[in-house]
Symmetry: C2
Subunit: 128 residues, 2 copies
DNA sequence: TTACTATTGATAATTGTTTTCATTAATATT
DNA sequence: AATATTAATGAAAACAATTATCAATAGTAA
């Protein structure tokens, strides 16, 4: 948690492990996996998937993380966090959340929005 | 493609393989993986991740699939597709898409929205 | 018909994640 | 304190989805 708070980013288990292990060499990879599982269950951490085969974890917005969404380049995997333009979203999202919640009898805890596309570098040059 | 069109659902590679292989026994698993990769690249198929360790694929809305989003139960993995309430989204999403596109110089091809929560069965009974 | 290239599927290799299990730490009970 | 019991830990093995390899086949060009 301290690492995720300090950096504010989204990281793979391996990355988290390397960092935590540096400060606390006794902590093993399995414990990192287990702890992240619990933190996600508790709602303190969110699991993300950007399609490169490994899960990423970040502080959930409910527990001090910034409320933001992601813009993913399907070419190189580059991820841009954005938190501008969120105001417009909020009302709509909240409405949908309530309607869905009622209609499908779900207790909704979180939402994720991703835009997928190609960054400038990955776009074919005739599309630039 | 024919299978995804006919069913209109989201399936794992294994599920797609089993179905395609039944009709065309000569087609192997590797080819299914390879073909899906190409279809995704072409924008005809979307890859989804519901956090159970395997990717799902569905017809992209651009190529005849219904435009819908997903409501995922983090307890049992149940997925509800919804396409109601999308009208409200559309305008907002379109605005954000344009703004993001301009600001970060991305060519945005697709967006994904997921609501995560607990379905009625998975909710602890004191929360019912 | 022949030479060359691209596609295929079976298998092996890889890799992120989960299980197993003996060890250690923590807690409860004398 | 000393002991018994339970829970947490990490190393290694097992697992599963995906990717790479490669010989065989199909397709195309000469």
């Amino acid at each position: 948690m301290e690492f995720l708070q300090r950096t504010g980013g989204h990281f793979s288990v391996e990355e988290i492990y390397r960092n935590v292990h540096k400060a606390f060499p006794s902590i093993g990879l399995t414990t990192v996996y287990r702890t992240l599982e619990v933190l996600v269950e508790m709602g303190l951490v969110s699991r993300l998937d950007f399609g490169d085969g490994k899960s990423r974890y970040e502080l959930s917005s409910g527990s001090g993380g910034t409320h933001h969404h992601h813009l993913c380049c399907t070419g190189c995997g580059r991820i841009v966090d954005y938190q501008e333009f969120l105001e417009e979203e909020k009302k709509v999202i909240k409405n949908i959340e309530e309607a869905l919640s009622r209609k499908h009898n779900f207790q909704i805890n979180e939402h994720q929005i991703q835009f997928l596309g190609l960054c400038y570098d990955c776009r074919p040059k005739e599309a630039k």
